[in-house]
């Protein structure tokens, strides 16, 4: 590499002329070219070198690499830095990484500011290197401005209730309940249906090892019965939630609408409400015609069959599977499910292996777009081919058509790319629409828990890689297919991940929360109440202080969204870490750069 990985600029210590001078370290990341191919990172460093509060400024090839992190720690300790700015990627990715760097160096983590010059500069201004560089300089200056006003903060410590509420008695929820009980937590399982088991409990043989769904659930229920720490409420709905992180009071209505409810105090909540199977519209791939059925309906048929398949009293000689029904829909359609449901390929392939086991002579045609029997499930695909299943790949823009032919038999028309793109008419006795997963309609629960939904309608995690079961609502975790399509094995895995995360919150007896919450200047507050309406988390209340009413914000209930701050006519609310003064200075420094 011709360019040195680190460019060091030795800067003179400011002469103490400026009051409250800071000693800030600034690191500008190349991101291995992701940033530096478009942003002149050396110039960005240069631009801040004259700043009296900047003690160290460098570039780094990968700021998040172990070596760069160690360099930062060394700098902080050697130069006694009291502030840290890293200009790299989105704060969503690495805020915690660099806060941890600060902590390891003995610096308060809240003295750290992340500046995003990748998503906000290099990636979107590829055609304008100079402009991208100027913007990066502005953003870094703003980051420095914010850091000038940071102050050390300590986490908020909350005592927690050692009990978890599991919403949903499917395979993920039940396995999580057992796991929670086994690490010494009390558990309440709430199931809307009258019986436990969810989707898995409905079915017989499941992939990959042919385990029986009913038996799996029966086994879990037996385990639950052995554990007195678990309370199960069936026919029950969660209708209300109050309290805050570590201590939620949940209202559970038992016995359907109009029935009475009980209140449960829990430290955490695991949402495992599962999925709905995609229900095709009438006429969608022939749905509604006798003999056209969804994958769950076909699985039911398989479960009920002990010999060659029979439909409507007639032997089934030819089965046609149409894949990706309700999944990977074209994005130009309103409300399209653009995602891949990913369990369905393997489930359909596995169903065809079962069908071949019942009748080796039945012909099975799989009309697919892409076969995604990922991981070890590939062997099931191979097995199904060996058992005579034929796979026909159709082009994305030419989906198959299902109709009833003149002779009364179903006919599926498809263009097969593996047969010279030829259009084929396949006679069928059964057409199986390989339907995917869709989010459950759960408006009431979503309203109660205030959980954000992704654009696909499933619950959203905080970080897909590093915080896969946590939500923005502290102590509320998601598990299983309510988060997005998952196989039963994956659902159980995420259920157990939620158990671990619950334990992390509850097993110590206390939890530490991010202190970046809103605070009220009680002297300035006039108790107008506008902030109460603005808070989406119900974290603000009125209280009496020295004989007058003032607003008070629960440190554990506040999420630090800042929604209340602009609503206050007296400017009495400030958000820690993002104070009005900090934001103003950030804006000012941005303007300075753009004017210059």
């Amino acid at each position: 590499m011709s360019q040195p990985e680190l460019e060091v600029a030795a800067l003179g210590v400011a002469g103490g002329a400026v009051p409250a001078a800071r000693r800030i370290g600034v690191y500008v990341c190349h991101c291995g070219g992701n940033i530096s191919d478009y942003v002149d990172v050396a110039k960005v460093v240069e631009s801040v070198q004259g700043d009296g509060d900047v003690a160290v400024a460098r570039t780094a090839m990968f700021a998040c690499s172990d070596a760069s992190q160690q360099d930062m720690i060394d700098d902080i300790q050697k130069n006694q830095l009291d502030g840290l700015v890293v200009a790299s990627c989105s704060p969503k990715l690495h805020t915690y990484t660099f806060r941890a760097v600060a902590t390891r160096a003995g610096l308060n983590p809240y003295e750290y500011s992340q500046v995003n010059i990748r998503e906000q500069c290099s990636w979107i201004h590829r055609d304008d290197h100079e402009g991208a560089t100027a913007k990066a300089i502005g953003l870094v200056q703003a980051g420095i401005a914010r850091t000038r006003l940071t102050e050390p903060l300590e986490p908020i410590v909350v005592e927690t209730t050692p009990k978890t509420l599991v919403i949903g008695g499917g395979i993920a929820g039940l396995r999580a309940a057992v796991g929670l009980a086994d690490i010494g937590l009390q558990v309440v399982v709430v199931e809307r249906e009258l019986t436990l088991g969810g989707w898995v409990g409905r079915f017989g043989e499941l992939y990959p090892y042919g385990k029986d769904g009913h038996a799996l659930i029966a086994g879990l229920v037996a385990e639950i019965k052995k554990r007195p720490a678990i309370t199960v409420l069936t026919g029950a709905d969660v209708v209300g939630k109050s309290g805050s992180f570590g201590n939620y009071d949940v209202e559970v209505r038992v016995g359907g609408p109009g029935a009475g409810s009980i209140s449960v105090r829990v430290g955490s909540i695991i949402v495992a409400t599962g999925f709905d199977s995609y229900q095709p519209e009438a006429g969608e791939f022939g749905y509604g015609i006798n003999g056209v059925m969804t994958l769950p309906e076909f699985t039911d048929l398989l479960d009920r069959s002990t010999g060659p398949l029979v439909h409507d009293g007639k032997p089934v000689r030819s089965v046609v599977y149409v894949y990706c029904v309700g999944s990977r829909q074209a994005s130009d359609v309103e409300g399209a499910n653009e995602y891949c449901s990913r369990f369905c390929c393997t489930a359909a392939v596995h169903a065809s292996v079962r069908a071949a086991g019942l009748d080796a002579m039945a012909r099975q045609f799989h009309l697919y777009r892409d076969m995604r029997t990922y991981g070890k499930y590939e062997t099931i695909y191979t097995r199904s081919r060996e058992l005579g299943s034929v796979y026909l790949r159709f082009p994305d823009d030419t989906p198959p058509a299902v109709a009833r032919g003149e002779d009364g038999r179903l006919v599926v028309t498809v263009r097969d790319l593996l047969t010279d793109g030829e259009e084929l008419a396949i006679p069928a006795d059964l057409v199986v629409l390989v339907t995917g997963m869709v989010p459950r309609k759960n408006e009431e629960l979503v309203g109660v828990l205030k959980l954000p939904l992704g654009s696909d309608g499933f619950f959203n995690e905080i970080h897909p890689k590093l915080r896969p079961v946590e939500t923005v609502v502290g102590g509320v975790l998601i598990a299983g297919a309510c988060q997005g399509p998952k196989s039963s094995a994956e659902s159980v895995a995420s259920g157990l991940a939620a158990v671990t995360q619950s334990a992390a919150i509850l097993r110590k007896g206390f939890a530490e929360l991010d202190p970046l919450v809103a605070t009220v200047d009680t002297d300035a507050c006039t108790a107008c109440g506008k902030c109460l309406d603005a808070c989406p988390y119900g974290a603000i209340a009125m209280t009496s202080l020295d004989g007058r009413e003032v607003a008070v914000i629960s440190e554990t209930g506040c999420k630090g969204c800042g929604g209340c701050v602009p609503m206050c006519p007296e400017d009495a609310i400030d958000l820690r870490g993002y104070t009005d003064a900090q934001i103003r200075d950030q804006i000012d420094s941005l303007l300075e750069v753009s004017v210059a």
Partner: protein, 403 residues
């Protein structure tokens, strides 16, 4: 046009002994490794795909089915052991069963026990039929036609030939129509103009002369026995190579057919009455002797190779393979025994029974030709004709049009 899927096709092919090609995932390695594949003739992958999907008409209208000489290279390279070569052979059997309208070929292939019974019964029938009218056995010299009357043999032979010609022609027409439709070749393309006729004659020569009689591509492209730059594997000596054995058997068979017809012709022309004792160097006798030698040599080694599974082409043998080789070998073998008996002094009486056996088996062989493996004699040249036609550019005819 939408191709109709026949969900029964796959099961049908299995009845004709098709390898289980369900393992095939259409990778195309077989096509890439096939020495016969050209840009406009791709197989076996496509043929296997037709079978998997159930495109019966496509399969039966594929001339490519009949360009293959079963060298076995594709089965060797197949990553899923789907045995494309074996499949191609089975698909040809299925095609023979489908082109034949009588259903006899189908029975012969799909019900080996019944098929063998039919073959034995037919031979017995011919033997008894001719023995029924037999005369005395002269003892001075072998008077074969005194034993079985010449007219009876000839008339039966002609009847058999007519049946075979009709059945064979029907099969050829069925096949040609199917391939023609798929290839877009009609009467006009073949004989519509002087240029078209010229082109067709060229293709005919290519199909029958160069390819069928000359075995050009079998010899040049599909000779798996010549060690192609492979140091570990010594080349098979020329006299043991598959193409030569096949050629020798074919030429022997044709030579014998020719000798028989010539002998009949000589009698018709009044030059030599059938059955007149002649010296061994008499041209027709000499032709018969040489052709017989070739047939017996070819079939003997072929049988031996099949028995020993000497190469990948004969890794699998079906009853149909054995039946054809057996009938050819018996016809040739008994012919020689007969010749020996003719030149032996004292006219051994077994000569008469060998003669009866020989005539019965030869009749059967000819009669069953369109209904067994020998039918490739009818169908392969048709496919090769279309193959040659496709490779010959259409010349503008004198009227200026191209069709």
């Amino acid at each position: 046009m939408t191709a109709q899927v026949d969900v029964e096709l796959y099961g049908e092919l299995q009845k004709f002994g098709a390898a289980d090609v369900s393992a095939c995932f259409s990778c195309g390695t077989c096509t890439a490794s096939c020495p016969l594949v050209t840009e406009d003739a791709t197989f076996p992958r496509r043929m296997i795909r037709y079978a998997q999907v159930g495109l019966r008409d496509k399969l039966l209208s594929s001339k490519e089915l009949w360009t293959c000489y079963a060298c076995g290279e594709c089965s060797e390279t197949c990553p899923t052991q789907a045995e494309p070569s074996e499949f191609m052979a089975a698909a040809r059997r299925y095609a023979i069963g489908s082109y034949d309208r009588t259903g006899l070929a189908r029975t012969m292939y799909t019900r080996p026990v019944l098929g063998t019974a039919i073959a034995v019964f037919l031979a017995a029938f011919f033997a008894i039929f001719m023995a029924a009218g037999h005369g005395g056995q002269a003892t001075g010299s072998l008077d074969l036609f005194g034993f079985v009357p010449e007219d009876l043999v000839h008339t039966t032979g002609i009847v058999v030939m007519v049946i075979v010609a009709l059945a064979g022609l029907a099969g050829i027409v069925t096949m040609a129509r199917q391939i023609g439709r798929a290839e877009g070749v009609g009467w006009r393309t073949v004989v519509g103009s002087r240029a078209a006729v010229g082109r067709s004659l060229g293709a005919l020569w290519e199909a029958i002369g160069v390819e069928s009689l000359g075995q050009r591509r079998y010899r040049e492209d599909c000779d798996a026995d010549k060690a192609a730059g492979d140091a570990d594997q010594a080349a098979v000596p020329i006299y043991r190579r598959r193409w030569l054995l096949h050629a020798v058997t074919m030429w022997g068979f044709l030579g014998l057919l020719g000798a028989t017809i010539l002998d009949y012709g000589l009698a018709l022309a009044g030059i030599k009455a059938t059955g007149t004792p002649v010296p061994i160097w008499y041209p027709v006798r000499l032709l018969g002797t040489l052709a017989g030698l070739m047939l017996v040599y070819g079939t003997s080694v072929l049988i031996l190779d099949r028995f020993r599974r000497a190469n990948r082409s004969v890794a699998h043998s079906t009853p149909a393979d054995w039946t054809l080789l057996a009938l050819l070998w018996i016809t040739g073998g008994t012919g020689f025994a007969l010749e020996v008996a003719l030149y032996l002094p004292g006219a051994p009486a077994w000569g008469y029974w060998v003669f009866l056996f020989h005539v019965a088996v030869a009749m059967e062989l000819v009669l069953l030709a369109p209904f067994m493996k020998l039918a490739h004699v009818l169908y392969r040249p048709v496919a090769l004709f279309f193959y040659a036609l496709a490779r010959t550019p259409e010349l503008p005819d004198r009227q200026g049009g191209t069709r």
